[in-house]
Amino acid sequence: IGSESHGLDKPQVERYSRQLLVPAFGVAGQGTLCCASILVVGAGGLGSPVLLYLAAAGVGTLGIADDDVVEQSNLHRQVIHTEAAAEAGNPKTTSAKEACQRINSSIKVVEHRTRFTAANALDLVRPYDVIVDASDNVATRYVVNDACVVAGKPLVSGAALGMEGQLAVYHDRPGAPCYRCMFPVPPVGARRCADAGVLGVVPGIIGSLQALEAIKVATGIGEPLSARMLIFDALTTRLQTVKLRGRSATCAACGDQPTITAETLPSFDYAHFVSADTDPSPLPVL
């Protein structure tokens, strides 16, 4: 296979042999991935398969940002965690890191046991090549996006609720939109899994697809879901890919005259931003 020039050692060639055989990926893809660093924001329903598959695939440095502890009600979908971790109330980052290293001790896994905030966002994203948004709330989605734009990082964004899921890659190339281009005004009354529920395997499917997109973006292989969105309906197993707008010149983050910058971001009030609308009523939960 001629791996030496790509810096793969013998155990790596053995471990990744099935991937090295894939023409589109091969030794070059594996070599790039082994040097890549990916930050996963959220070690929950989406983050579980993202982390398991990125660790198994051999991403050189895997960051995990989460400030929650494992609970019983996580276990139906957060398959990276265990009953033992829930009973002990272990931090999700610790539980997830242990699982990743059980699969692949040759990669580096970094715990960021903290909430993703305006104040720490830029410091968190800067060391990484690709950011995966596997979070579960609107405020975090905006701060992660804005930090990616300011720091110049591609963002793989997934979401799941009920029997539905959505997936897109933002800000990965010139002309591609960022999350804020798509949603300049935050929604009101957004529903969360804790309120509206989610069938456990739905974030499993979306998270696995996020891992794929993160690998493609990190290695430059194939066509990522850039300026496209995948919309998934689990009840009918319908998967639509739709075409999204390009970058918006008026976007507060990635536009021609951004108001969100390395200077302003750390003091931007995301909690106020996402709750500024006066209409409080969430969509009904039937």
Partner: protein
């Protein structure tokens, strides 16, 4: 009169009797030859959306966080409220999800 396939998802279907797909016939405005998305929104409000219109509409457009797709394309690519809709078109209204 144009026949349109409407779809509501991401939770919006709950405002429409929990039905995701609707085949509807929408008339042009008096004197107009085309039906625009803006006309469609007015028609939906008057004919399909029986309660809590503020969950779907804001001003003369859709509520923030709702993505509008015309034949699998973001409506930003075809003129937003001014996009014409034609016989057989599919218009999707989807509420973005934030859970994980």
């Amino acid at each position: 009169m144009v026949e349109i396939n409407l779809e509501f998802s991401g939770g919006l279907e709950l405002l429409f009797g929990d039905v995701k797909q609707h085949k509807v016939q929408v008339p042009a405005k008096d004197g107009a030859i085309q039906v625009l998305i803006s006309d469609l929104l007015v028609w939906i409000r008057g004919n399909l959306l029986k309660e809590r219109p503020e969950m779907f509409l804001k001003g003369d457009s859709v509520r923030p966080g709702i993505l509008v797709l015309i034949n699998d394309c973001d409506w930003e690519l075809c003129g937003r409220l001014a996009s014409p809709v034609e016989d057989g078109d599919t218009v999707v209204f989807i509420s973005t999800l934030h859970g994980g």
